[in-house]
């Protein structure tokens, strides 16, 4: 019973936070509401005995991703008012579609099909059961392939990010010590062989 209450409380907070993320005008507030939504979902995961995921969610998303996100938002100083201009105009249509889809979702994903008779209540794990250990046990065995592919995706993300943002700026003048050190004689002077000039000029002058 208490579990049910906790679930509904956090679920309500999460939905509320989710709505706020897309409705508040201030981007910083929006990000903060996202943090709230993450916290609530972490709590629900805890409720489902997925401790490892819950903690990772908080650590990675709240701790790292959202901080970075806030950092970017503050740095870029996005003009949020302009971005939301069309919001009111399209709200009715958007709302209608949202309601329709929500209706369809509820029609299907209800207790009718996901009730206890179809999905028996999971047996609570013993107190010494380690979620982390269980994950670790399959990660490098059963899911090795997927895990490695995910790693490659991260690598590509890094490559892509660097290739899209790194830019050698030609306008800034900086010293490049390694080039100064590596300079060779041939780079600096050029010996030109040419025919000797007649000495007329000097003779005239003298």
């Amino acid at each position: 019973m208490s579990q049910l209450v906790i679930f509904f409380v956090f679920a309500a907070i999460m939905v509320f936070a989710g709505v706020m993320v897309i409705t508040v005008r201030n981007a910083v507030h929006s990000a903060l509401f996202l943090v709230l939504a993450f916290f609530s979902s972490a709590a629900i995961w805890l409720l489902m005995e997925a401790e490892f995921l819950a903690i990772v969610l908080v650590l990675v998303y709240v701790g790292a991703v959202m901080v970075l996100f806030l950092f970017v938002v503050m740095m870029l100083d996005v003009n949020t008012a302009r971005l939301k201009e069309g919001f009111i105009r399209y709200l009715p249509v958007g709302l209608l579609v949202a309601v329709l889809i929500a209706f369809q979702l509820i029609m299907v994903v209800g207790g009718e099909r996901f009730g206890l008779e179809d999905y028996p209540k999971p047996v609570p794990k013993a107190a010494d059961y380690s979620n982390t250990e269980a994950l670790g046990a399959v990660l490098y065995t059963e899911y090795l392939f997927a895990f490695e592919v995910a790693a490659v995706i991260l690598l590509v993300a890094i490559v892509a990010a660097i290739s899209l943002t790194m830019r050698r700026r030609n306008t800034v003048k900086t010293q490049k010590p390694e080039m100064q050190v590596a300079v060779r004689r041939e780079d600096r002077i050029r010996i030109v062989s040419m025919a000797s000039e007649p000495r007329n000029g000097r003779e005239d002058g003298s």
Binding site: R113, L144, F145, V149, V159, A160
Partner: protein, 477 residues
């Protein structure tokens, strides 16, 4: 250990992509061609390994994560081959626009890896990861030309919409997982076939989301909106990559999900695919007529071709799948050639992507006018070019599946479609060139485009081998 042997091509490709990445980082600007040559060599060897390891019978590896089978191997070999040509086409183009960077090839190689993973996926999870790997590379490649506002905008649209589509796909996957308790395609098929599920509403619900995700990747109406903007906005060297090989991967994804996994729900997805197919053929062909930009026109023509490609799958027979596979391969070759011609006519600072740029091509170069005509006729489905056989074989399967009306609709739309291809032919042969300068493209590019064109012609005259290959490949999977 045999698991690792089975995926040797992928492992090799991954290793080499990393090698190319590192080598490129240490190479001076002047030696950029080394990156390019390494990338080409990698593709050749990867393709060769794939062919060498062609399995006698399907082999599921890594606890059901991947499968090595006939269809996968054939498609992977073609993907490597097509990427090879795409890289060749892109070299001069990139160099002239100062974006001849190693990243194009590194990302391209990773994209090929993503496609290969998708093609040989045996689990929804692997499909999703392969798709993300591919998409991420493509987003970055589209945006690579940073000075172009069009490219940045296209990349942004592609990225956001792609993320949306991924979300839907993922939601569908979770529904299927919820309904069957597994992401392994073989097990899903077993559960669906066993009839244990009394109420398959959840599965159908998930299926809709999956189909949306697939339709986005293919570019089927109404999930096609990204396609014209991306094809148009991206540098042509990237467009030709996006427009060719990934279509084969998308086809494989459709086959894996709908046929390998959810064949039991055929009645449901067949109806959806019929809708998508008709809409795609209608919208693609009709709008293409109004285009004045060749890249955009090809984008809409892609949408129309996707409609045709789906026809074979929805017929729901082994022969139909083979026909679609044939179509996917053929389309990739034709599309590659079409964009290749644009690259061929482009020069530094000049993009030959307007219809007018093809005016009077026959006077500038009869040979390349002929090659372009081969591509266009083939896309229009004029015999004896291979595009005709592709259309013919899917239509035959649609008729065999007792959907004569659908075949009639398809034929009507392809006749409408023939108009805009033939218009370009007319421009090339009967109009005066606006700019009569000779073609300056490099010899390797000219040779590659010529080979590409002759392949379309040759496959049209001798379609039997490739068709047989497709049938055999599907029989072995």
């Amino acid at each position: 250990m045999t698991d690792f042997v089975a995926i040797t091509p992928e492992l090799f490709l991954l290793t080499m992509a990393c090698v190319v990445l590192i080598v490129d980082a240490f190479l001076p600007e002047a030696y950029r061609a080394v990156t390019y040559q390494l990338a080409l060599m990698t593709l050749v060897i990867t393709g060769g390994l794939t062919v060498a390891l062609y399995p006698a019978e399907p082999q599921v590896v890594f606890h059901g994560a991947a499968v090595v089978d006939g269809m996968g191997s054939v498609l992977k070999a073609f993907i490597a081959g097509i990427a090879f040509f795409a890289f060749t086409y892109s070299k001069d183009y990139l160099r002239e626009r100062n974006v001849f960077k190693g990243e194009y090839y590194v990302l391209g190689l990773f994209a090929v890896l993503g496609m290969m993973i998708m093609v040989s996926a045996h689990s929804l999870l692997t499909i999703y990861l392969g798709l993300e790997l591919l998409s991420l590379c493509l987003y970055a490649m589209v945006a690579m030309h940073r000075d172009s506002a069009d490219a940045s905008e296209a990349a942004m649209k592609y990225f956001v919409l792609g993320a949306l589509a991924s979300g839907m796909l993922l939601y569908g996957i979770s529904m299927i997982y919820g309904g069957t308790g597994t992401v392994d395609l073989g097990e899903i098929a077993a559960v669906v076939a066993s009839g244990d599920i009394v109420d398959d509403t959840v599965l159908v619900f998930g299926l809709v989301f999956l189909v949306v995700g697939l339709a986005f990747k293919l570019g089927a109406v109404p999930f096609h909106m990204w396609l014209p903007d991306v094809y148009h906005g991206a540098p042509t060297a990237v467009t030709l990559f996006i427009g060719s090989a990934p279509k084969m991967a998308a086809f494989a994804m459709v086959m894996r999900v709908l046929v390998d996994g959810l064949e039991g729900l055929q009645a449901d997805w067949q109806a959806m695919l019929v809708i998508l197919s008709i809409l795609s053929m209608a919208v693609g062909n009709v709008i293409a007529i109004a285009q004045t930009n060749l890249k955009r026109m090809f984008a809409y023509s892609t949408i129309a071709h996707v409609g045709f490609l789906i026809l074979g799958v929805l017929s729901g027979t082994e022969a139909g799948y083979a026909a679609s596979m044939f179509y996917a391969i053929v389309y990739a070759i034709m599309s590659l050639g079409g964009f290749g011609m644009i690259v061929l006519l482009s020069r530094g600072g000049f993009e030959a992507d307007r219809l007018e740029d093809f005016k009077g091509l026959n006077e500038r170069s009869p040979w390349f006018a002929f090659i372009m005509m081969v591509f266009l006729f083939s896309m229009a489905g004029v015999p004896p070019f291979v595009g005709f056989w592709a259309k013919w074989s899917v239509l035959r399967e649609v008729v065999a599946a007792d959907m004569v009306w659908l075949a009639v609709v398809a034929v009507v739309f392809s006749i409408i479609g023939a108009f805009y291809y033939l218009r370009v032919v007319k421009l090339m042969y009967f109009d005066k060139p606006e700019d009569a300068s000779p073609i300056t493209a490099g010899g390797d590019l000219q040779a590659a485009v010529s080979i590409n064109g002759l392949a379309v012609l040759g496959l049209g005259l001798f379609p039997g081998a490739l068709l047989t290959l497709c049938v055999a490949a599907l029989a072995a999977s």
